[in-house]
C-alpha cells in the first residue's frame, strides 16, 4: 500500500462526511423553513398567547391542555462548526437556526393540535427545553434537544 493512502483515507473520510452532512443539512433546513412559513400563514388566525388569564370579555365554552413537542438532533457539520466556535466564543449560529426551527415547529404543532380539537385560541402558552443525554458517552454528551410548547386551548363562540 502506498504510504499516502492511509492518511488520505483518515483525513478524507471526515472531510467527505462534513461536505455530505452540510449539503443534506442545509437542504433539509431550507425546506423546513419554507414549510414552517406556509403553516404559520395558514394558522395565523388562531392566536397563541402568553396571557395567564384570557381577557374578561371572552365567553369561554370549553378549555383543555394542548401540547406541541419536537425532538431535534444536530448534524455532523453543525457539531463541527459549533466545536470550532467553542474555541473563540460568540454566537453559535449553526445552533441558533436549529433551535429557532424547533421552537416554531413546537408552536405550530400546538396550534394544529388545538385547531383539530375545535379550539379557537390558546392562552398561557409556555415553551420548555430539555436536553436528551447521549447514551453512548455515559450521559455526558447531548444526543438531542426537546422543545415543548404547552398552553390552555379555549373554545369560543363564533362571532
Amino acid at each position: 500500500m502506498e504510504p499516502w493512502i492511509e492518511p488520505a483515507i483518515r483525513l478524507g473520510f471526515p472531510l467527505a462526511l462534513l461536505a455530505v452532512t452540510y449539503f443534506i443539512g442545509s437542504t433539509v433546513e431550507r425546506r423546513h423553513q419554507h414549510n414552517l412559513r406556509q403553516r404559520e400563514l395558514r394558522s395565523r388566525n388562531l392566536p397563541a398567547l402568553t396571557f395567564a388569564t384570557p381577557p374578561a370579555d371572552w365567553r369561554i365554552e370549553d378549555s383543555a391542555l394542548v401540547t406541541g413537542s419536537v425532538v431535534i438532533s444536530i448534524d455532523y457539520f453543525k457539531r463541527f462548526l459549533a466545536g470550532l466556535r467553542g474555541l473563540f466564543g460568540g454566537r453559535i449560529a449553526s445552533y441558533e437556526s436549529l433551535l429557532d426551527r424547533a421552537r416554531r415547529e413546537a408552536l405550530l404543532r400546538l396550534k394544529e393540535s388545538a385547531f383539530e380539537g375545535g379550539y379557537r385560541a390558546v392562552v398561557n402558552v409556555r415553551l420548555e427545553t430539555s436536553r436528551l443525554a447521549s447514551s453512548t458517552r455515559r450521559g455526558e454528551g447531548t444526543s438531542g434537544v426537546e422543545v415543548l410548547a404547552f398552553g390552555t386551548a379555549l373554545k369560543l363562540p363564533r362571532v
Binding site: 504510504p3 492518511p7 483518515r10 483525513l11 471526515p14 472531510l15 462534513l18 452540510y22 442545509s26 423553513q33 414552517l36 412559513r37 404559520e40 400563514l41 395565523r44 388566525n45 392566536p47 381577557p55 370579555d57 455532523y76 457539520f77 453543525k78 457539531r79 463541527f80 462548526l81 466545536g83 470550532l84 466556535r85 467553542g86 474555541l87 473563540f88 454566537r91 449560529a93 449553526s94 441558533e96 437556526s97 433551535l99 429557532d100 421552537r103 416554531r104 408552536l107
Partner: protein, 268 residues
C-alpha cells in the same frame, strides 16, 4: 380586545452568517493561532536543544528507560560495540547506555538521557557486526545532532497544539497530524545521522562494507512481515535515495566498501 392575525418574525433569533463563511473564518483563525503557537514553541525547543548541557539532560532523563531493560545477555556485547564506535567521537558528552527491548520489529531509537534502545528483532536480523555497527552509529549520530531532544520537544508541542485546537471537533485529526509531522521532520536529521554514523563505522573498521546491508535487505523483509515493519519505515524512511546517498558519501571520502565482514557474536 382586538386580535390582528400577524405572522411571527422569523429573522430575530437567527444570525444570518453563511455557515460556510463562518467555517472558513473559524478554520483560518484556528490555523493561524496553532501555527503561531507551533512556530514559537519550536523556537523554544530549538533553544533548549542548543543550550541544555548533556549533563543536565542526563540528570533530567535518568530513569527514563528504567524498567525497560530486559536483562538480555546480548546487552554487554552490544554495549561494547557502542563504546568502541563512540570512542571515535572524542567530544561525546554522553554516557551512552544500551537497552535491549523485547520486540520482534527491527528498530533502534535514541532516547533522551543517552540511552540507545535496540529491539531484539534488530539483533536477530543482523547478519554481520558491520551492519549492526552502522545502525548503532546512526543512533549515536542522533545524539550528536541532539535529534532525540528535538523530536521529543516537537512531538510534545504538536500533540498539545493539535489536541487543543481540534479536540472539540468530531474528526479524528489530532493523531493523524502529529503522526505526519513526526514522520516528515526526521528526514534531514536522518541524513545527517547517516553521514555521521558511516564516519564512525569507517573509523572503527577502516571500511564501510556491509553498513547499508540492513537497508538493502529491509524491502524484502517488508514483503514478509507486512505491517510489522511499518514503524521502522515511518521513522527511518528507507528510500533508494538514502542508499545512494550513502554510496555517494563513501565515494567522495574515498572509503573502502569492499572488504570481508566481521561475523556477529552476541551470545555469551
Amino acid at each position: 380586545m382586538k386580535f390582528e392575525p400577524r405572522l411571527p418574525r422569523d429573522d430575530v433569533n437567527v444570525s444570518r452568517t453563511h455557515p460556510l463563511r463562518e467555517t472558513a473564518q473559524l478554520v483560518a483563525g484556528v490555523t493561524l493561532l496553532t501555527g503561531a503557537f507551533v512556530v514559537a514553541a519550536f523556537l523554544a525547543v530549538e533553544l533548549g536543544v542548543r543550550f541544555l548541557p548533556a549533563s543536565w539532560e542526563q540528570r533530567i532523563f535518568s530513569g527514563w528507560t528504567e524498567g525497560l531493560d530486559e536483562a538480555d545477555a546480548r546487552t554487554e556485547p552490544v554495549q561494547d560495540l557502542v563504546n568502541r564506535l563512540a570512542a571515535h567521537w572524542p567530544e561525546n558528552p554522553y554516557d551512552l547506555r544500551v537497552v535491549i527491548l523485547e520486540d520482534e520489529t527491527p528498530n533502534a531509537f535514541a532516547a533522551p538521557g543517552g540511552s540507545i534502545l535496540v529491539t531484539s528483532g534488530l539483533l536477530d536480523a543482523a547478519e554481520s557486526e558491520n551492519e549492526l555497527a552502522f545502525v548503532l552509529s546512526h543512533e549515536v549520530g542522533h545524539f550528536r545532532g541532539r535529534d532525540h531532544l528535538r523530536a521529543l520537544g516537537r512531538g510534545l508541542v504538536l500533540q498539545v497544539a493539535v489536541q487543543t485546537a481540534i479536540a472539540s471537533s468530531a474528526a479524528n485529526l489530532p493523531a493523524l497530524i502529529t503522526d505526519l509531522a513526526s514522520r516528515s521532520f526526521g528526514r534531514e536529521q536522518e541524513q545527517s545521522a547517516d553521514a555521521f554514523g558511516l564516519g564512525l563505522v569507517q573509523a572503527e573498521y577502516g571500511h564501510v562494507s556491509g553498513a547499508e546491508n540492513f537497508f538493502e535487505r529491509l524491502p524484502d523483509a517488508r514483503a514478509d512481515f507486512g505491517d510489522e515493519l511499518g514503524a521502522w519505515f515511518a521513522t527511518h524512511p528507507v528510500t533508494e535515495g538514502r542508499i545512494e546517498e550513502l554510496a555517494d558519501l563513501t565515494r567522495r571520502n574515498g572509503w573502502q566498501d569492499e572488504a570481508p565482514l566481521r561475523p556477529l557474536h552476541l551470545s555469551p
